[in-house]
Symmetry: C2
Subunit: 123 residues, 2 copies
DNA sequence: ATAGGTGCAAACAGTTTGCATGTAT
DNA sequence: ATACATGCAAACTGTTTGCACCTAT
């Protein structure tokens, strides 16, 4: 996506200002408030290229569609509430060192930590 | 699934003896060697109940179908090779303490660490 | 002017479900 | 005997693609 379009601007800004990981559908629904005729395919196309450019990262939660959030360069720690299924992005307190050792021959270029449990709202 | 059937036995044994996380399709293809007429839906049904019983856990790698592996009770560390897309289960060297701190109100019941990079076979 | 982006609809992949039949208890 | 599991096909959900039209460069 090398050409600047209104769709691209809006989609990027939606993800950037969300503050939490969004599904492609959520991104589309938010973006549609600005561009009513925006197609879902366009949303997917932009999310894909943003991922490829590493401006956005995908977060997976088993049994649910992938969510996407703004990539600020640092590795991610997420918390998934098993009661309400919300996904939270937490501060990375691991100090940028991979939280586990790997056998010889493996080269670690990044990591992601997913914590499971219950969030404050679910007691 | 409260009744003992050949399908159930085979599916469970396939996952248990795989040594790495398998997609539902892989599970089905391996199980079919024992039960040629095994349906894919039956495979999904068993995987689902095995998950619910916590005998099996799902591992997600963005852009690919969920893989399932035998749950031996301990939290998991996985390594995803970004070149060949293989998924490896590593020893958990985190010593059973969550590798990150959480804000007040969050209760951590388990965690999963996903490392990204290149595996030994991919240089 | 033209390469690249868009919307729409159709295609696709992974997973779930309805139902008639089979089988463990 | 009967409640539960199975296989098959159809349905569903999330994502991608083909194509005619549109638009930033």
């Amino acid at each position: 996506m090398k050409r600047q379009t209104r769709q691209g601007e809006v989609i990027l800004s939606v993800i950037r200002s969300a503050g939490r990981p969004l599904t492609p559908l959520e991104i589309h629904q938010l973006a549609i408030q600005e561009i009513p005729r925006l197609g879902i395919a366009t949303t997917y196309r932009h999310v894909k290229t943003l991922c490829e450019n590493h401006q956005v990262v995908g977060v997976d939660y088993p049994g649910q569609p992938t969510r996407y959030e703004w990539a600020d360069g640092q590795d991610k720690v997420h918390f998934a509430c098993r009661t309400c299924d919300k996904l939270f992005a937490l501060e990375d307190t691991t100090d940028d060192e991979p939280p586990a050792k790997v056998p010889n021959g493996f080269k670690v270029k990044g990591f992601e930590v997913m914590l499971y449990g219950t969030c404050p709202e679910c007691k």
